[in-house]
Subunit: 331 residues, 6 copies
């Protein structure tokens, strides 16, 4: 019987298949009576399987000397349920080769990713910029920043961990924030239409689209996920995002007050100094983007906790990014 080719995440218990996977971790351990062994983890976008390679196994030698974390492999294996969770009984394994791309291999298929199509999300973001920002120079600035970084933006995560920490998570988060900000800009612009100067909707939209743009410099992507860059650690995405705006604005005739308001949205979007904001929101525009951003991040964390927490009872444990319990339903 021919062996099926499928994704690791689609395999059923007991099934044998050919699939591509990322070796995301390899640890050298030892049993208490002194025998060394390895614990390896293979993953694709939606399933992660970790298990031991004992020292008397035929795989022990290649595991020790050849398998490299962060590299991709083609495996033929059976998915076995054991007392310690699912394991892979490996029949064949070899590194991914150039020809595999033609067979359908894509590194992104081995990382968790947004449920939404990044190309569509990018297009929607561009569309919002084009249709909602009335001020020409500002609109062009924002659109150019997006287009110049299109390749990165399509795959970038929103963070290393905590929220939207997956492929295209950046776009998913920014699009959510931008949609909410557009709604609030309309609403509060109308509600307080006697304010002088009026609430600047262009700045709100531009600020929502660009508030996290510094992540492009704060993070670097690797097959195993995002890592902080040196400059990301020492300077941080809040300042780095403002740098991108200022560098791109050089030589353009952008109204200085509009540029200042946009920079301020970025600088203050995390609101509290202990959350990394050098200044609190001091304009209506900054206040709105902060709330839209904060809600989207917190909601994503809450949803992740509700999906992933494995404790029992009406509430989750408080060991999560928000350090609090959440209600999972039931009385």
């Amino acid at each position: 019987m021919a062996v099926l080719t499928m994704s690791l995440c689609e395999m059923n218990e007991g099934q044998e298949a050919d699939f591509y996977a990322l070796l995301s971790e390899k640890q050298e351990l030892t049993t208490r009576d002194g025998k060394p062994y390895y614990r390896v983890t293979f993953r694709d976008a939606r399933r992660e399987v970790g298990f031991p390679i004992w020292s008397d196994s035929a795989l022990a030698d290649p595991c020790r000397s050849e398998w490299t974390p962060g590299h991709f492999y083609k495996l033929r294996a059976v998915l076995r349920q054991s007392n310690y969770g699912p394991q892979l009984e490996i029949k064949k394994i070899r590194p991914v080769e150039d020809g595999d791309r033609q067979e359908g291999f894509d590194p992104l298929m081995c990382q968790p990713a947004s449920r939404f199509d990044p190309v569509e999300m990018f297009a929607e973001l561009i569309n919002i910029v084009e249709s909602r920002i009335e001020n020409g120079p500002l609109r062009e600035l924002v659109a150019d920043i997006l287009e110049q970084n299109r390749e990165q933006l399509l795959v970038w995560p929103a963070a290393k961990k905590n929220h939207h920490a997956f492929v295209s998570g950046y776009l998913e988060h920014v699009l959510n924030v931008t949609r909410t900000s557009c709604h609030l800009a309309e609403k509060y612009g109308e509600l307080y239409n006697d304010l002088d100067p009026p609430i600047n909707k262009d700045v709100i939209v531009a600020g929502a689209v660009l508030h996290d743009i510094g992540k492009l410099r704060e993070l670097a992507t690797t097959p195993a996920g995002a890592e902080y860059t040196a400059a990301g650690c020492l300077i941080g995405h809040v300042l780095q995002g403002r740098d991108i705006v200022r560098e791109t604005a050089v030589g353009r005739s952008i109204d200085p007050e509009i540029l200042l308001r946009l920079e301020h949205v970025i600088v203050s979007h995390q609101r509290l100094p202990e959350w990394g904001a050098p200044k609190p929101p001091m304009t209506p525009e900054a206040l709105i983007v902060h709330y839209a951003d904060d809600l989207d991040a917190k909601m994503n964390m809450l949803v992740c906790v509700l999906k992933e927490d494995t404790t029992e009872g009406p509430v989750t444990s408080k060991r999560n990014a928000m350090a609090q319990q959440f209600y999972r339903g039931g009385l």
Copy 2:
């Protein structure tokens, strides 16, 4: 020449007119050389004028013995500009009489009020409840609470001070929060449609409408504005709002988990313990209502500061309810 009847807030400098006003303050003071005098303040919905009544004035005696703070008066007076701001040169003054109501007097005309029509706001709120809450018993509960308190809700302020502290401010704030919450409920309900149990939009709408309902017991209204009740001071509107829901729910067949989720929205809507929340938001519903509420309150404070701060320079002073500076524009 006939004297015009107009509002105090419509009078121009040097103009004489008949108008109704609230004596909002009366202080007994003394000059440094020992002469007693009074400082009185009259106000209507949009202007407040404070000035001295000297002891050698013909008004000195009635001011001391008859004028009562919190009472309404009909005045004929000239609005004079002086070195110490606008003053009233009073020609005639008498307490408001029963017949004045027929002439157009209404106590509410002497207090700051929402720019929006409370009857329309109430109707919109009821309409949202009727059209957006699918669960029958919950919908009836919310509608009944609104209808049973209609008279109070039409005039209630949202607070004694800080935000929406004016006639019908409660409705204005709650309607804003409810509209935003409806938008966010739709959006996040769709975004995380794989959550189990799903985000409960009914609870979000009900929670938005009722999150501040305890203000009806925390505050008492007086002609001069809102005051805290004893129970408001010792218990607080967060708990008192939940009381109203629980008391009204007695004898109704409301799903216990839905009721619990609604109570939790009220209990947690101020999020931090130091802001008065016994519990932080532990459900998606509570998280959304908190953000919609917090943004609306903060935006109103920001707008009030921008309108009222009298310092000069690009930013306001930090002596305001949010204890921070805001940018008023200009480089």
Copy 3:
């Protein structure tokens, strides 16, 4: 030689006996070389013994398929000292049967419990209420709440963990707090006898007795100890305790100010918002109950740490509920 029947906590090393015990924990583990085994824990009121059941043991099969955590068992076993602490060498084991109750089995004998007789504590509490609360309607309210919940109160713990987290711990804690509060009420009532209105001793006694009554709804008891209910997590015992008072007060002619002061004692008894108090103590009554409560809880924690901490040196470790070191004596 006949096998003795005794409590697990009375057995000596090497002794064989028949006894009842709760299976409080059962974990499926595996040795590093891949062999599965179970680690089980049996306990009675004062001793807890945890040990492995190896996969080659005769007990391995019943352990895996039959033994259920939270259930009670009758065992015949020898208590052996090993390098890993005491272990049980099980000779016979079967689930507790109905007839065992006649032989003396009682589920409470397998949980840690107060050293004091709950029936006597309850009687003393009732006696204090009857003799110390002069105001008739208030006295009846408090007494009725106690009597209506007598069954639960006799066994309830004061908390899931931290302090008085054992059978009848609620009564032990509340009785301590009430005794201290009575003493302080007398003392400060006399000391500040010129206060107007005077310190209300009735409210102090009632507040001390009822300050934690919401624990009846916040917690649910199980054979293995207390768990939080959904409403306990989302609302909390502070609010739930006030609910019990308000629900029981419906239809009684209690002086509204006295009821308000009593509610305030409950609402504020944890003093700080970050400890869960929506309001700080704003009355002499609330201040006294807070201090009596806080001291009793802290003293119990301190005593538990001194008894249970296993580090060496003049002070304990700071890994305890109060996150600080305590002095155990010695220079």
Copy 4:
């Protein structure tokens, strides 16, 4: 008609009398039109009267050149009610002379003082020490410290302001703390009689009596009230109190662990570092004295606020030593 001799605090409106008073304050002020005048304040133990001495008064010259704040005067004056509160119409005034002591003058009669007799309070404190501290050397140490400082202790305040800031306030506060501590020592000593080492009641009593003894060095008394000494500012009474104990203990055969526990009670009695405690309570003895002390101080503040706050409504303002509102009664 002969002029009566009475206390300032006993005079009725319109009454003329001879009395002794402290000139507690003298401020040089000026009216807005440039005329200088003085505002002076005279006080005795329970009444304080402040009023202006105008520059055209016959008293203007002696006021400027002779009257000295902190000095005592014999006055003949009428107590007049004015629009600015009570005032003194001075007929005669001269500094207190040596012979006045024979006539009944005592500086203490011009400062607010405890309602309790300091000699009796001191005797009760000595009696508690003698009867409650079983350990001989410790008992003698405590008694000696009291006796050696008897003169100061009889009049010392507990603080410059905030709580028990009046003549003999130290004794009143310490006696309250000691009584409560004795009660709690008995109660918890019995409750946790299985603790090893047992709760040391001797240390509790000694610690309660001496916890604030450093106030003798932190403060200096003046006719106008207490002032901080330089060492009080730079070192503080917590450390200075421990100094007194250590200096007095030199050459005595006190058990070192008992002395250490006593020092620790003093060092930790304010519990939190931001309240001035270098260490938190780490022993049962320190925990009990802290709670007894804190409750007594807070209760005194609360009572003072309730008596002195002049705002209206169900609660006081929050401008007081505890920065919070208190309930004064009424719904």
Copy 5:
């Protein structure tokens, strides 16, 4: 007798002189009986005199209509001591004219200024840069930034208030910080000479010189002192200083890691987020500059408080920039 020309700060009581002064403040006030008057303040570098201009004075009219705060005047006046402090009895007054510069007028003579010569301080700073920074491109970058901003730097204050808030205060502060940093760089570079990479002394010197360079954009100078710019309020000197470095570095071949370390010194020099640092010091260089900076600022505040506090007793009041008391000496 000829009238002397001297500085305001050199005049003795009763002396008449010609001098230049800044009208630093003009307030319109009114006496309690309704008469308007002005309170004006004239100052030079080291003395400030404030006094009333009464409405019946010959100066009343020019004061109201001509005198402008922030403008400079030439006065002939007598310095009189009054009950309300020193006052000026003005004989002649006119605005400063162009010709006055030839007579010796300089706007800087009317503002408080550093006691040190700014030209010398600037030269010393340049000298340190030239002699201490070994890395060529870095040395040139720092020197160029100084030279390009020489005019401003010579007069700039270090802050609007709090510390070194006077003419050339920036140079005085930065020179102090740089000297201390040089000392510490030598010392710790030698002490930890085994660190890899070694402590970078060049970065320490450059960071010390440039840590506050953003003040050039955060503040704007006016005759009456410094004011915050809009960008200063919304972005802040920490980010603006890094901008200056990055903008000047464009097109230069500076080692990227050295530039990053220098940027990090600026970004982290206030250490805590609540003090405005987006990142804490994460390098030895940043740690040293932070400490040198913080000590110099705090020491200047302490010295200012000790010189200016006017309370009595061994310690100052706590109403100062550091919100604490300081010891002024004496027991």
Copy 6:
């Protein structure tokens, strides 16, 4: 071939040698299949080696019954590299005997120690005291305290952990602090030479030398490192250091204000209450010593983290004494 005698820290992989070592730890563990074994750690000044002694080893018996943690041993062993790090293959082992001292054994050779010679550091400290403190009685006080505690000071660590936690770490830290303080005293003494009273350089030097002197009582040294004493836990080195000064000052004619300033330097040197300072620095002297101390401690922590952190990437983990990341270099 003769076996070499060398230090453990000098041995190469595979080398056999005779050496002295401290048994710093011995833990009784068990493999998952129930076999007991020991994990032992031997160390000298710069290398620590931990490894198992299996139950079937010839060393198992002596390990269990004879080897004592905190004792010194002479070993003959081979240093083997294994999968779990370096291990010792022990050929011979016996406790250190009296005669070994003659062979070169010294307990200090088995603990981590300062890289600097303690005798030289002590001499330099004495020299600074003698040459820098002008006030005779103060100089003698400081010198006497040093000389009286010379034996201890030569070996004392600065702390149990965190910073300078090694033999002679106390001297290394105090010497650094004193050198920096001398520099700052000169500089700020000159800069603010108009301060009255002037900055007291003697107090700065004395305070720097003695700020941590209480460590002599807070800590006790053991072969395995420092431990807290009971008094250290309950009172703390800040108070204990002041005790040493006060006790030594008895009977000397030291100017009281100088003594007070010196005590204040000690009391306030940790600045914040939560860091253990009963008072903040209130004098220039205390401010300088605090900064010199804090920088030296933090710099040592930073250096230790950079040397010891084993994570990868541009920054360290935040699991260290300062709870933050540090930059280790590289982009």
